[in-house]
């Protein structure tokens, strides 16, 4: 487990999550209006 969570791998996971949130947030804010009637 300790060998899996190397510093480099953790940094990549955190970066990927941050990018995912940044990409998903505006898209979700726009798309939610198509779900309400």
């Amino acid at each position: 487990m300790a060998r899996f969570f190397t510093g480099r791998r953790v940094a990549r996971i955190v970066l990927s999550l941050a990018v995912g949130v940044l990409v998903a947030w505006p898209i979700a804010m726009y798309a939610r209006h198509f779900l309400v009637r």
Binding site: V21, M29, Y30, R32, H33, V36
Partner: protein
């Protein structure tokens, strides 16, 4: 294989990077602080939320206001939709108040299955007329007008489409022209009503503005085209003391194109005509494109409440820029910016009532604790409140005098 991986990574980066940039911008737009919106004390300016948006996604975008003093009450009308774009479940909501502080919803006006916007009141023959624009396009572009009428502001006739505008046919008769957007009727004598409308004038390249008149609020005939060189709309007018009409037209550009990211020639066309209003002289103000304006008179001087694009600027109208609702003095050759009302993002589309020394201005804005750009408030974070400003008419004249004195002292001196 290694080269292919690099190419794929670069391509993925190119796709993702703009979205990351947009996400970062949204964070910045949500954390940056708005300006103070402090106004000179002489205005005695009070500002508050008249109708709060609430948190229901279906009805959180309150917009497009107008205001009228009718039978002793103030009537406010506004659109209520889920966002700025087409909403077929949208409605126009009429609110009533005695003091412009506590508002009571008294009527809801809809056209089934149709987006409705840009309501305008007019008291014609003692009856409260309402003109508004139905929209059938996702990116709103209304191309006709509906009307209704009430005798108490509470009970309204079923909305109907206007017949159209009667244009001179060149042979001494009249021909009916459809697809016109009416703006705000005004009268000087209580008998003949004048209004500016924008639409497809034969021979003009784009939708342009014309002056029309009526004696009953139903049959409107064209008096004259106002300005047809480039497309324009949302035309507002006011009578001046000498009987002439002064108008402000929203003009997207002087032929230079550019819409989403604005352009340097977006402007307000200021047009003036003396009776019988057949010939117009025009000037351009590049400090803003006065969207959704209301013109009004205080002390014989003409003012306007409308959208401030924070110009002049090379990208006037940029969707990524913030906007304000602002008060201007309208001169025959220019607009003079006086002060901003608390506002940001998608804002303006004002209504004005003057009672004694109090000037009431209705408009809409996202919550003013943030400084959102226009695009964010259109379809991403479209929660907007109806706000009400009240300030002193006497104070407004003092502020306008101070602005004129400041301009005079800053102007180059002759020998």
């Amino acid at each position: 294989m290694r080269a292919l991986k690099i190419v794929l990574k670069v391509l993925a980066g190119l796709v993702i990077a703009p979205w990351v940039l947009i996400g970062v911008l949204f964070i910045w737009w949500n954390v940056r602080r708005p300006p103070s919106f402090a106004t000179p004390a002489v205005l005695k300016h009070e500002n508050s939320v008249a109708v709060a948006a609430g948190k229901d996604l279906r009805t959180q975008h309150l917009s497009n206001t107008d205001l009228v003093d009718y039978r002793g009450s103030l009537f406010l009308i506004h659109a209520r939709t889920k966002w700025h774009l087409e909403d077929r479940n949208g409605a126009l909501v009429v609110q009533r108040s005695a003091d412009a502080k506590a508002w009571e919803e008294v009527a809801r006006i809809t056209v089934p299955g149709t987006d409705v916007r840009d309501p305008k009141f007019a008291v014609i023959g003692g009856r409260l007329f309402l003109y508004f624009l139905p929209n059938t396009e996702f990116d709103p572009s209304p191309k006709t007008t509906y009307w209704s009428v009430s005798d108490d502001g509470v009970h309204w006739q079923e909305p109907r489409e206007v017949d159209g505008i009667w244009l001179p046919d060149g042979k001494g008769g009249w021909t009916l022209s459809k697809s016109w957007n009416y703006w705000r009727p005004k009268t000087r004598d209580g008998r003949t009503w004048y209004m500016l409308a924008s639409g497809p004038l034969p021979g003009a390249a784009r939708r342009v503005s014309v002056l029309i008149r009526s004696t009953d609020g139903l049959r409107w005939e064209m008096v004259s085209p106002v300005w047809t060189v480039f497309g324009n709309g949302e035309p507002e007018m006011e009578f001046q003391g000498d009987g002439s009409i002064i108008a402000c037209l929203r003009c997207g550009s002087l032929g230079t194109g550019g819409y989403e990211f604005g352009n340097a020639t977006g402007n307000t066309v200021i047009a003036v005509a003396k009776p019988p209003y057949l010939e117009w002289s025009t000037a351009h103000s590049f400090i803003t494109r006065l969207d959704g304006s209301t013109m009004f008179t205080v002390g014989g001087r003409i003012f306007a409440a409308g959208r401030n694009h924070l110009g002049p600027r090379a990208d006037l109208g940029n969707h990524l820029a913030t906007k304000r609702t602002a008060i201007y003095e309208v001169k025959r050759d220019r607009l003079v910016h006086l002060f901003d009302l608390p506002s940001s993002g998608d804002t303006a589309y004002t209504g004005v009532v003057i009672r004694g020394d109090d000037v009431y201005v209705s408009y809409y804005s996202p919550p003013v604790g943030k400084d959102l750009p226009w695009i964010a408030a259109i379809c991403f974070q479209p929660r907007t409140d109806i706000r009400m400003s009240r300030f002193s008419a006497t104070g407004l004249l003092a502020v306008a005098d101070a602005a004129a004195a400041g301009a005079a002292s800053a102007a180059p001196k002759g020998d």
